[in-house]
Amino acid sequence: MSKSKAELYQERLKRYTTAVKNGKPDMIPIRPFVAEFTARYAGYSCQEVTHDYRKAHLAVRKCAADFDWDAVVGNMVYVWTGLTQAIDLVYYGVPGIDVSPDVGFQYREPPEDKAFMRLEDYDALIQDPTGYLFNTWLPRVSRAIVPPGEPATFRHNLAFLKGGMAMMDYFGALGEQNELLRDETGTVSAISGILKAPLDIMADKLRGYYGLVHDLMECPDKVLKACEALAPHLLWIALSGADPAGNVPITMWMHRSCVPFITPDHFEHIYWPTIKPIIEEIWRRGHQVLLYAEGNWDFHLETFRTLPAGSVIFHVDQGDIFQAHRILGDKFCLSGGLPNTLLSMGTPEEVREYCKKIIDGVAADGGYIMDASAIIQNDARVENVQAMTEFTRDYGQY
Protein backbone atom coordinates (compact mmCIF):
# COMPACT_ATOMS: atom_id res chain seq x y z
CA MET A 1 0.00 0.00 0.00
CA SER A 2 1.41 3.38 -0.94
CA LYS A 3 2.12 5.90 1.77
CA SER A 4 -0.11 8.89 2.30
CA LYS A 5 1.42 12.32 1.73
CA ALA A 6 1.27 12.91 5.48
CA GLU A 7 3.22 9.71 6.18
CA LEU A 8 5.72 10.54 3.48
CA TYR A 9 6.17 14.01 4.92
CA GLN A 10 6.83 12.68 8.42
CA GLU A 11 9.30 10.15 7.07
CA ARG A 12 11.17 12.80 5.12
CA LEU A 13 11.07 15.29 7.99
CA LYS A 14 12.61 12.71 10.32
CA ARG A 15 15.28 11.87 7.73
CA TYR A 16 16.14 15.52 7.14
CA THR A 17 16.12 16.62 10.78
CA THR A 18 18.21 13.63 11.81
CA ALA A 19 20.84 14.50 9.23
CA VAL A 20 20.97 18.24 10.04
CA LYS A 21 21.74 17.30 13.64
CA ASN A 22 24.67 15.31 12.26
CA GLY A 23 22.88 12.02 12.90
CA LYS A 24 22.47 8.93 10.76
CA PRO A 25 19.00 8.62 9.22
CA ASP A 26 17.60 5.65 7.28
CA MET A 27 19.09 7.05 4.06
CA ILE A 28 20.86 10.15 2.80
CA PRO A 29 18.41 13.04 2.53
CA ILE A 30 18.16 14.80 -0.81
CA ARG A 31 17.64 18.56 -0.55
CA PRO A 32 18.54 20.27 -3.83
CA PHE A 33 18.39 24.05 -3.85
CA VAL A 34 16.63 24.15 -7.21
CA ALA A 35 16.19 27.66 -8.58
CA GLU A 36 15.72 28.37 -12.31
CA PHE A 37 16.03 24.63 -12.95
CA THR A 38 12.40 24.39 -11.89
CA ALA A 39 11.45 26.67 -14.77
CA ARG A 40 13.32 24.54 -17.27
CA TYR A 41 11.66 21.40 -15.95
CA ALA A 42 8.15 22.86 -15.75
CA GLY A 43 8.28 24.60 -19.13
CA TYR A 44 8.51 28.21 -17.97
CA SER A 45 10.96 30.97 -18.89
CA CYS A 46 13.18 32.61 -16.27
CA GLN A 47 11.05 35.71 -16.69
CA GLU A 48 7.92 33.79 -15.80
CA VAL A 49 9.27 32.28 -12.56
CA THR A 50 11.05 35.48 -11.50
CA HIS A 51 8.32 37.95 -12.29
CA ASP A 52 5.27 35.81 -11.46
CA TYR A 53 5.92 34.01 -8.19
CA ARG A 54 2.77 31.93 -8.64
CA LYS A 55 4.43 30.21 -11.59
CA ALA A 56 7.62 29.80 -9.56
CA HIS A 57 5.64 28.08 -6.83
CA LEU A 58 3.87 25.82 -9.34
CA ALA A 59 7.22 24.88 -10.87
CA VAL A 60 8.69 23.94 -7.49
CA ARG A 61 5.66 21.82 -6.66
CA LYS A 62 5.83 20.08 -10.02
CA CYS A 63 9.48 19.19 -9.38
CA ALA A 64 8.68 18.09 -5.83
CA ALA A 65 5.91 15.86 -7.16
CA ASP A 66 8.08 14.27 -9.85
CA PHE A 67 11.44 13.87 -8.06
CA ASP A 68 11.99 11.89 -4.87
CA TRP A 69 13.38 14.81 -2.86
CA ASP A 70 13.08 15.06 0.90
CA ALA A 71 13.21 18.83 1.16
CA VAL A 72 13.24 21.85 -1.12
CA VAL A 73 13.05 25.61 -0.82
CA GLY A 74 9.54 26.87 -1.53
CA ASN A 75 10.91 29.38 -4.01
CA MET A 76 14.64 29.47 -4.63
CA VAL A 77 14.15 32.13 -7.30
CA TYR A 78 13.83 34.18 -4.16
CA VAL A 79 13.73 37.71 -5.61
CA TRP A 80 10.20 38.37 -6.82
CA THR A 81 10.82 41.17 -9.27
CA GLY A 82 7.22 42.34 -9.09
CA LEU A 83 8.12 43.50 -5.59
CA THR A 84 11.46 45.03 -6.52
CA GLN A 85 9.80 46.86 -9.41
CA ALA A 86 7.13 48.23 -7.05
CA ILE A 87 9.91 49.85 -5.01
CA ASP A 88 11.77 50.61 -8.26
CA LEU A 89 15.08 49.19 -6.99
CA VAL A 90 18.00 50.10 -9.20
CA TYR A 91 20.18 47.06 -8.63
CA TYR A 92 18.25 44.23 -10.25
CA GLY A 93 18.44 43.15 -13.85
CA VAL A 94 14.97 41.71 -14.40
CA PRO A 95 14.60 38.77 -16.81
CA GLY A 96 12.54 39.71 -19.83
CA ILE A 97 12.88 43.43 -19.06
CA ASP A 98 16.55 44.24 -18.48
CA VAL A 99 18.06 40.94 -19.58
CA SER A 100 16.99 38.00 -21.71
CA PRO A 101 13.82 36.20 -20.55
CA ASP A 102 15.86 33.00 -20.36
CA VAL A 103 18.51 34.35 -17.98
CA GLY A 104 18.18 34.43 -14.19
CA PHE A 105 17.83 37.78 -12.45
CA GLN A 106 21.07 39.73 -12.07
CA TYR A 107 22.45 41.86 -9.23
CA ARG A 108 24.13 45.00 -10.55
CA GLU A 109 26.72 46.35 -8.14
CA PRO A 110 27.32 50.07 -8.63
CA PRO A 111 30.80 51.47 -9.36
CA GLU A 112 32.80 52.53 -6.32
CA ASP A 113 32.02 56.23 -6.71
CA LYS A 114 28.30 55.51 -6.81
CA ALA A 115 28.16 53.17 -3.80
CA PHE A 116 24.79 53.24 -2.07
CA MET A 117 26.54 54.14 1.19
CA ARG A 118 29.20 56.84 1.00
CA LEU A 119 32.44 56.82 2.99
CA GLU A 120 31.24 59.80 5.03
CA ASP A 121 28.04 57.98 6.04
CA TYR A 122 29.62 55.63 8.60
CA ASP A 123 28.68 57.67 11.67
CA ALA A 124 25.05 57.99 10.54
CA LEU A 125 24.79 54.23 9.95
CA ILE A 126 26.46 53.42 13.28
CA GLN A 127 24.27 55.83 15.23
CA ASP A 128 20.92 54.70 13.82
CA PRO A 129 20.98 51.84 11.27
CA THR A 130 17.21 51.73 10.75
CA GLY A 131 16.92 55.48 10.31
CA TYR A 132 19.88 55.46 7.94
CA LEU A 133 18.29 52.77 5.78
CA PHE A 134 14.99 54.65 5.48
CA ASN A 135 16.36 58.16 5.11
CA THR A 136 19.56 57.73 3.11
CA TRP A 137 19.99 54.23 1.70
CA LEU A 138 16.50 53.59 0.35
CA PRO A 139 16.30 56.87 -1.63
CA ARG A 140 19.60 55.90 -3.26
CA VAL A 141 18.60 52.36 -4.22
CA SER A 142 15.11 53.32 -5.40
CA ARG A 143 14.33 55.47 -8.43
CA ALA A 144 10.99 56.39 -6.88
CA ILE A 145 11.69 57.20 -3.25
CA VAL A 146 12.90 60.69 -2.45
CA PRO A 147 14.98 61.60 0.62
CA PRO A 148 13.54 63.51 3.59
CA GLY A 149 13.29 67.22 2.91
CA GLU A 150 12.37 66.86 -0.73
CA PRO A 151 8.75 67.02 -1.85
CA ALA A 152 7.06 63.64 -1.79
CA THR A 153 5.88 62.57 -5.21
CA PHE A 154 3.09 60.32 -6.41
CA ARG A 155 5.63 57.62 -7.26
CA HIS A 156 7.34 58.01 -3.88
CA ASN A 157 4.08 57.45 -2.05
CA LEU A 158 3.16 54.52 -4.26
CA ALA A 159 6.58 52.88 -3.87
CA PHE A 160 6.12 52.58 -0.12
CA LEU A 161 2.48 51.50 -0.39
CA LYS A 162 2.94 49.00 -3.20
CA GLY A 163 6.28 47.78 -1.88
CA GLY A 164 4.92 47.08 1.59
CA MET A 165 1.77 45.40 0.34
CA ALA A 166 3.73 43.35 -2.20
CA MET A 167 6.08 42.14 0.52
CA MET A 168 3.19 41.02 2.72
CA ASP A 169 1.58 39.32 -0.28
CA TYR A 170 4.79 37.48 -1.15
CA PHE A 171 5.65 36.35 2.37
CA GLY A 172 2.07 35.20 2.88
CA ALA A 173 2.21 33.18 -0.32
CA LEU A 174 5.48 31.54 0.78
CA GLY A 175 3.73 30.23 3.88
CA GLU A 176 0.94 28.83 1.73
CA GLN A 177 3.52 27.31 -0.63
CA ASN A 178 5.13 25.42 2.24
CA GLU A 179 1.76 24.01 3.26
CA LEU A 180 1.00 22.97 -0.33
CA LEU A 181 4.40 21.29 -0.63
CA ARG A 182 3.63 19.30 2.50
CA ASP A 183 0.05 18.42 1.59
CA GLU A 184 0.39 17.80 -2.17
CA THR A 185 3.82 16.18 -2.34
CA GLY A 186 4.89 15.28 1.20
CA THR A 187 7.96 17.48 0.82
CA VAL A 188 9.62 19.38 3.65
CA SER A 189 10.29 23.11 3.35
CA ALA A 190 14.06 23.02 3.78
CA ILE A 191 14.84 26.37 5.40
CA SER A 192 13.15 29.17 7.29
CA GLY A 193 14.60 32.58 7.95
CA ILE A 194 17.46 34.53 6.43
CA LEU A 195 20.76 35.72 7.83
CA LYS A 196 23.65 37.58 6.31
CA ALA A 197 26.86 38.48 8.09
CA PRO A 198 27.34 42.17 8.87
CA LEU A 199 30.51 42.40 6.77
CA ASP A 200 28.84 40.68 3.81
CA ILE A 201 25.95 43.14 3.95
CA MET A 202 28.43 46.01 4.01
CA ALA A 203 29.90 44.77 0.74
CA ASP A 204 26.69 43.59 -0.92
CA LYS A 205 24.32 46.48 -0.41
CA LEU A 206 26.07 49.36 1.33
CA ARG A 207 29.70 50.19 0.46
CA GLY A 208 30.11 47.71 -2.39
CA TYR A 209 33.03 45.31 -2.44
CA TYR A 210 35.59 47.82 -3.70
CA GLY A 211 34.46 50.49 -1.26
CA LEU A 212 34.55 48.04 1.60
CA VAL A 213 38.06 46.76 0.96
CA HIS A 214 39.23 50.37 0.73
CA ASP A 215 37.64 51.05 4.11
CA LEU A 216 39.10 47.88 5.64
CA MET A 217 42.55 49.21 4.87
CA GLU A 218 41.92 52.90 5.63
CA CYS A 219 39.39 52.91 8.48
CA PRO A 220 38.94 49.38 9.86
CA ASP A 221 37.64 50.69 13.19
CA LYS A 222 34.70 52.33 11.43
CA VAL A 223 33.94 49.12 9.57
CA LEU A 224 34.01 47.16 12.83
CA LYS A 225 31.67 49.65 14.53
CA ALA A 226 29.31 49.52 11.55
CA CYS A 227 29.24 45.72 11.70
CA GLU A 228 28.59 45.86 15.44
CA ALA A 229 25.71 48.28 14.84
CA LEU A 230 24.16 46.05 12.15
CA ALA A 231 24.53 42.81 14.10
CA PRO A 232 21.54 43.04 16.50
CA HIS A 233 19.24 43.95 13.61
CA LEU A 234 20.43 41.06 11.47
CA LEU A 235 19.86 38.74 14.42
CA TRP A 236 16.34 40.10 14.89
CA ILE A 237 15.45 39.62 11.22
CA ALA A 238 16.90 36.09 11.22
CA LEU A 239 14.88 35.07 14.27
CA SER A 240 11.71 36.72 12.95
CA GLY A 241 11.66 34.20 10.10
CA ALA A 242 12.81 31.13 12.01
CA ASP A 243 10.86 27.88 12.12
CA PRO A 244 8.93 28.03 15.44
CA ALA A 245 9.42 24.28 15.83
CA GLY A 246 13.17 24.58 15.29
CA ASN A 247 13.17 21.74 12.78
CA VAL A 248 14.72 23.47 9.80
CA PRO A 249 17.63 25.91 9.83
CA ILE A 250 17.94 29.62 9.22
CA THR A 251 20.16 30.07 6.17
CA MET A 252 23.17 32.35 6.17
CA TRP A 253 24.10 33.20 2.58
CA MET A 254 27.87 33.71 2.69
CA HIS A 255 29.38 35.91 0.03
CA ARG A 256 32.75 37.70 -0.04
CA SER A 257 34.07 37.75 3.51
CA CYS A 258 36.54 34.92 3.06
CA VAL A 259 40.21 34.89 2.09
CA PRO A 260 41.27 36.07 -0.50
CA PHE A 261 38.43 38.59 -0.81
CA ILE A 262 39.54 39.95 2.57
CA THR A 263 42.69 39.39 4.61
CA PRO A 264 42.99 36.78 7.38
CA ASP A 265 43.38 39.66 9.84
CA HIS A 266 40.10 41.29 8.76
CA PHE A 267 38.35 37.94 8.94
CA GLU A 268 39.68 37.33 12.42
CA HIS A 269 39.09 40.80 13.86
CA ILE A 270 35.99 42.07 12.03
CA TYR A 271 34.03 39.36 10.21
CA TRP A 272 34.16 36.59 12.78
CA PRO A 273 33.65 38.59 16.01
CA THR A 274 30.52 40.17 14.52
CA ILE A 275 28.90 37.01 13.13
CA LYS A 276 29.87 34.33 15.65
CA PRO A 277 27.79 35.85 18.50
CA ILE A 278 24.75 35.95 16.17
CA ILE A 279 25.09 32.26 15.32
CA GLU A 280 25.60 31.40 19.00
CA GLU A 281 22.54 33.40 20.04
CA ILE A 282 20.41 31.73 17.36
CA TRP A 283 21.63 28.35 18.63
CA ARG A 284 20.90 29.35 22.22
CA ARG A 285 17.33 30.08 21.13
CA GLY A 286 16.90 26.63 19.61
CA HIS A 287 17.70 27.13 15.94
CA GLN A 288 20.47 25.95 13.66
CA VAL A 289 22.13 28.02 10.95
CA LEU A 290 22.85 26.60 7.51
CA LEU A 291 26.17 28.15 6.52
CA TYR A 292 25.69 28.35 2.77
CA ALA A 293 29.37 28.90 2.00
CA GLU A 294 29.28 30.28 -1.52
CA GLY A 295 32.73 30.21 -3.11
CA ASN A 296 35.61 28.63 -1.21
CA TRP A 297 35.84 29.02 2.57
CA ASP A 298 38.42 26.25 3.16
CA PHE A 299 40.87 28.70 4.74
CA HIS A 300 38.41 29.22 7.60
CA LEU A 301 37.27 25.70 8.40
CA GLU A 302 39.20 25.58 11.68
CA THR A 303 37.47 28.79 12.74
CA PHE A 304 34.02 27.38 11.97
CA ARG A 305 34.99 24.37 14.07
CA THR A 306 34.95 26.60 17.16
CA LEU A 307 31.15 26.89 16.95
CA PRO A 308 29.06 24.70 19.29
CA ALA A 309 28.59 21.15 18.01
CA GLY A 310 25.37 20.85 16.01
CA SER A 311 24.77 24.59 15.83
CA VAL A 312 25.34 24.78 12.06
CA ILE A 313 25.12 22.78 8.86
CA PHE A 314 28.06 23.54 6.58
CA HIS A 315 27.24 23.69 2.88
CA VAL A 316 30.18 23.26 0.52
CA ASP A 317 30.29 25.09 -2.80
CA GLN A 318 33.75 25.46 -4.37
CA GLY A 319 35.57 24.23 -1.30
CA ASP A 320 36.95 20.74 -0.76
CA ILE A 321 34.14 18.72 0.78
CA PHE A 322 36.53 15.98 1.86
CA GLN A 323 38.67 18.46 3.75
CA ALA A 324 35.51 19.98 5.25
CA HIS A 325 34.49 16.51 6.39
CA ARG A 326 37.90 15.87 8.00
CA ILE A 327 37.82 19.15 9.92
CA LEU A 328 34.11 19.60 10.66
CA GLY A 329 32.50 16.21 10.18
CA ASP A 330 32.49 15.11 13.82
CA LYS A 331 30.67 18.30 14.89
CA PHE A 332 28.47 19.37 11.99
CA CYS A 333 26.35 18.03 9.16
CA LEU A 334 27.61 18.84 5.67
CA SER A 335 25.69 19.37 2.44
CA GLY A 336 26.43 20.01 -1.21
CA GLY A 337 29.71 19.46 -3.03
CA LEU A 338 28.37 18.15 -6.34
CA PRO A 339 29.78 20.54 -8.97
CA ASN A 340 27.13 22.47 -10.88
CA THR A 341 29.28 22.20 -13.99
CA LEU A 342 28.71 18.45 -13.90
CA LEU A 343 24.95 18.98 -13.77
CA SER A 344 25.09 21.30 -16.78
CA MET A 345 27.87 19.81 -18.91
CA GLY A 346 28.50 16.30 -17.60
CA THR A 347 26.78 13.04 -18.36
CA PRO A 348 24.49 11.11 -16.02
CA GLU A 349 27.27 8.55 -15.58
CA GLU A 350 29.71 11.26 -14.49
CA VAL A 351 27.12 12.61 -12.06
CA ARG A 352 26.63 9.15 -10.56
CA GLU A 353 30.40 8.67 -10.20
CA TYR A 354 30.79 11.99 -8.39
CA CYS A 355 27.84 11.30 -6.11
CA LYS A 356 29.46 7.96 -5.21
CA LYS A 357 32.74 9.71 -4.46
CA ILE A 358 31.00 12.15 -2.10
CA ILE A 359 28.89 9.50 -0.41
CA ASP A 360 31.88 7.19 0.11
CA GLY A 361 34.05 10.05 1.31
CA VAL A 362 31.83 11.99 3.68
CA ALA A 363 28.51 10.26 4.30
CA ALA A 364 29.43 6.88 5.80
CA ASP A 365 28.36 7.85 9.31
CA GLY A 366 25.43 10.12 8.41
CA GLY A 367 25.52 13.89 8.74
CA TYR A 368 25.40 14.54 5.01
CA ILE A 369 22.68 15.96 2.75
CA MET A 370 22.93 15.54 -1.02
CA ASP A 371 22.85 18.79 -2.99
CA ALA A 372 24.73 20.55 -5.74
CA SER A 373 27.47 22.99 -4.84
CA ALA A 374 25.44 26.09 -5.65
CA ILE A 375 21.80 26.75 -6.44
CA ILE A 376 20.70 24.78 -9.49
CA GLN A 377 19.81 27.06 -12.37
CA ASN A 378 18.44 26.49 -15.84
CA ASP A 379 21.77 25.31 -17.23
CA ALA A 380 21.37 21.99 -15.38
CA ARG A 381 20.23 19.10 -17.54
CA VAL A 382 17.14 17.25 -16.36
CA GLU A 383 18.74 13.82 -16.87
CA ASN A 384 21.66 14.83 -14.65
CA VAL A 385 19.42 16.02 -11.84
CA GLN A 386 17.53 12.74 -12.20
CA ALA A 387 20.82 10.84 -12.01
CA MET A 388 21.80 12.67 -8.82
CA THR A 389 18.43 11.89 -7.28
CA GLU A 390 18.12 8.25 -8.30
CA PHE A 391 21.72 7.31 -7.56
CA THR A 392 21.62 8.91 -4.11
CA ARG A 393 18.38 7.10 -3.35
CA ASP A 394 19.77 3.75 -4.46
CA TYR A 395 23.30 4.01 -3.12
CA GLY A 396 22.61 6.25 -0.13
CA GLN A 397 20.82 3.71 2.05
CA TYR A 398 22.19 3.12 5.56
Binding site: V79, D128, T130, G131
Partner: protein, 58 residues
Amino acid sequence: MEQSTKENVYRKPGVCIPWEEKLKELPPIPGDAELARQIWEEVDQLGYIFIWHCLVSF
Protein backbone atom coordinates in the same frame (compact mmCIF):
# COMPACT_ATOMS: atom_id res chain seq x y z
CA MET B 1 11.67 59.13 11.31
CA GLU B 2 13.51 62.34 10.51
CA GLN B 3 12.57 63.76 13.88
CA SER B 4 13.94 60.69 15.64
CA THR B 5 17.29 60.99 13.90
CA LYS B 6 17.66 64.61 14.94
CA GLU B 7 16.80 63.76 18.53
CA ASN B 8 19.38 60.97 18.51
CA VAL B 9 16.84 58.36 19.64
CA TYR B 10 18.25 54.87 19.96
CA ARG B 11 16.12 52.66 17.77
CA LYS B 12 16.13 49.11 19.05
CA PRO B 13 15.85 46.11 16.73
CA GLY B 14 12.22 45.64 15.68
CA VAL B 15 11.37 49.31 16.18
CA CYS B 16 10.96 52.25 13.81
CA ILE B 17 9.15 54.77 16.00
CA PRO B 18 9.33 53.82 19.69
CA TRP B 19 6.05 53.82 21.58
CA GLU B 20 7.55 56.22 24.11
CA GLU B 21 8.06 58.74 21.30
CA LYS B 22 4.52 58.27 19.96
CA LEU B 23 3.04 58.51 23.42
CA LYS B 24 4.35 62.07 23.77
CA GLU B 25 2.19 63.09 20.80
CA LEU B 26 -1.02 61.66 22.25
CA PRO B 27 -3.46 63.15 24.75
CA PRO B 28 -3.83 61.24 28.05
CA ILE B 29 -5.15 57.77 27.19
CA PRO B 30 -8.50 57.14 28.86
CA GLY B 31 -8.71 53.51 27.76
CA ASP B 32 -6.37 50.54 27.80
CA ALA B 33 -2.88 52.04 27.43
CA GLU B 34 -1.25 48.62 27.28
CA LEU B 35 -3.40 47.61 24.31
CA ALA B 36 -2.53 50.88 22.59
CA ARG B 37 1.17 50.20 23.13
CA GLN B 38 0.97 46.60 21.96
CA ILE B 39 -0.84 47.38 18.71
CA TRP B 40 1.41 50.34 17.98
CA GLU B 41 4.50 48.16 18.36
CA GLU B 42 3.09 45.26 16.33
CA VAL B 43 2.23 47.48 13.38
CA ASP B 44 5.39 49.54 13.72
CA GLN B 45 7.33 46.27 13.42
CA LEU B 46 5.94 45.81 9.90
CA GLY B 47 7.78 48.95 8.81
CA TYR B 48 10.95 47.60 10.37
CA ILE B 49 10.53 44.26 8.62
CA PHE B 50 10.00 46.07 5.32
CA ILE B 51 13.21 48.08 5.40
CA TRP B 52 15.45 45.34 6.78
CA HIS B 53 14.18 42.78 4.28
CA CYS B 54 14.81 45.32 1.52
CA LEU B 55 18.42 45.31 2.70
CA VAL B 56 18.86 41.62 3.47
CA SER B 57 16.49 39.73 1.15
CA PHE B 58 15.74 41.88 -1.90
